[in-house]
């Protein structure tokens, strides 16, 4: 038996977009065990809720993550609205759905690019990010921010999209639809992509369930877990089915995300076609009193916002469980028994967002 050595991986590593540290126990080139440690970017955002007005905390909730920011604000607002029993206007719900799907598009395109980069496929990386830029432009034009949208507020949304603009956005999505298809085709069929990801980072359905995997990691292992099915915002009135792959490897997780691009485009078109006219916000009176457990589907998976309030303008406690923290135990399982050279691809395949995992 070969002697064991420990190779530190991260928190600073060329392939990692965010700081996670892994101690890889190696036997020759094979990883026997991976010990993760986080704690490099803790910001104490949950504590801040005690000092801020509950309406102002939306800005902070949104900044928990730099990629799935809009979904965080939706999750927080949903909790407050449920506690205060606010009826958010239909139009605001549809607008939230449209922006949520836009952020999913931008997050998945970013991830596909980073994943290609982790495999060493630079052309594909540039291609994915070029398409992402048009999505970011649409977001900046409608919300004012490229990644931090800042349009969600307790009781509705801040900005409206005119019907003419919605038509223009749909037309634009039609035109980039072809580009997205070409991009997905590379991920589906290219020999180098398959070579680097098929059969790598296996996570069986049982393990995914047992270890609490969420989002594309669960969907790539055959579990149809998608919180959009619960019908929050306007998802209840839109037609969609969660995308499930049964390969259980990095390739399946990649395919799930690539297929979700087309699904998001479809959802935006549906929402733009069915959006009702009307107000975009309701007036918020008084302070929240009670507790609520709100669950929303982020690009990376299930995100939980638990809010407890006692009738004052400051909230007592907020707890956020982000999809990345849920996906770290499955990651450790995936790394067991893999080759050292596959570690970057496997780590990237869960789409780690340590910034929001630590908050």
């Amino acid at each position: 038996m070969a002697g064991r050595i420990v190779v530190p991986f991260g928190p600073q590593h060329p392939v990692l977009p965010e700081p996670i540290h892994l101690d890889l126990v190696l036997e020759d080139e094979r990883v026997v065990e991976a010990i993760p440690s986080i704690g490099y970017v803790h910001r104490g955002l949950e504590k801040l809720v005690e000092k801020r007005d509950f309406k102002d905390f939306v800005y902070i909730a949104e900044r928990i993550c730099g990629i799935c920011s809009f979904t965080h604000s939706v999750g927080y607002c949903k909790a407050i609205e449920a506690i205060m029993d606010l009826q958010v206007p239909e139009r605001a719900q549809y607008l939230r759905t449209i922006w949520s799907e836009y952020s999913r598009l931008h997050s998945h395109l970013l991830w596909l690019g980073l994943y290609a980069d982790a495999m060493g496929f630079e052309n594909l990386f540039m291609n994915a990010w070029r398409i992402r830029e048009t999505i970011l432009d649409a977001m900046e034009e409608t919300t004012g921010g490229r990644v931090i949208q800042g349009v969600c507020k307790v009781g509705g949304v801040r900005r409206d999209i005119s019907d003419a603009k919605l038509k223009e956005m749909t037309a634009k999505l039609d035109s980039i639809g072809g580009e997205i298809e070409d991009l997905c085709h590379v991920f589906f069929d290219d020999a180098s992509v398959k070579h680097r990801s098929v059969g790598v980072g296996m996570l069986s359905k049982e393990d995914a369930h047992k270890l609490g995997a969420v989002g594309p990691v669960a969907k790539g292992s055959g579990i149809a877990l998608d919180l959009r099915q619960t019908g929050y915002s306007a998802y209840g009135s839109l037609d969609f089915k969660p995308i499930v792959e049964t390969g259980c490897d990095c390739y399946s997780r990649c395919i799930v995300r690539a297929k979700e691009l087309a699904q998001s485009v479809d959802l935006i078109k549906q929402a733009a076609a069915n959006i009702p006219a009307g107000d975009i916000e309701v007036k918020v009176k008084g302070n929240p009193d009670g507790e609520y457990f709100s669950r929303v589907e982020q690009p990376r998976g299930e995100c939980i916002h638990y809010v407890k309030a006692n009738g004052s303008k400051n909230i007592l406690r907020e707890r956020v469980r982000t999809p990345s923290s849920a996906n770290i135990p499955p990651l450790v399982k995936m790394l067991e028994g893999c080759q050292m050279a596959d570690v970057p691809v496997i780590v990237l395949s869960i789409d780690p967002c340590i910034g929001c995992a630590e908050r």
Binding site: D53, D56, D137, E141, T143, G144, G150, L183, D189, D190
Partner: protein, 128 residues
């Protein structure tokens, strides 16, 4: 097929304009609704301090006695919260980003309000 999956994209890209802009030679993309830096019409300001109370980044300081309104440009996150909470519509958002600045030297912009006009009665007493 597996080896030449990008050929279509490559051929398309050959005949397209570059996707990037030659900034700063060309101006950057800017939209009407872009959230840029905050500005204040200091003559309208009553120094009530609501903006600083609602600022998520604690970037705004209001001094009622000295009648100054100051903003730390590096702390400001351009969220528009101060403008929304302003009762006098004195604060507004522009779609321009602030030019690069140095922390501790040029980051705080101070706006000085006009001194309060003395009430006629008080002025008369003084004259007497």
């Amino acid at each position: 097929m597996g080896l030449f999956s990008m050929t279509k994209t490559v051929l398309k890209s050959l005949f397209k304009k570059p996707a990037t802009i030659r900034y700063p030679a060309e101006p950057a993309k800017r939209f009407e609704g872009t959230r840029g830096q905050m500005e204040i019409d200091i003559d309208k300001c009553i120094f009530c301090g609501l903006c600083s109370k609602h600022c998520p980044a604690d970037a705004i300081t209001v001094n009622k006695n000295e009648r100054t309104w100051s903003i730390n440009r590096l702390w400001c996150i351009c969220c528009n919260s101060c403008a929304e909470n302003c009762n006098k519509d004195a604060i507004y958002q522009t779609n321009v980003y602030h030019a690069p600045i140095v922390a501790g030297e040029t980051d705080v912009d101070v706006y000085q309000g006009k001194p309060v006009e003395e009430k006629p009665a008080a002025a008369e007493e003084k004259a007497a």
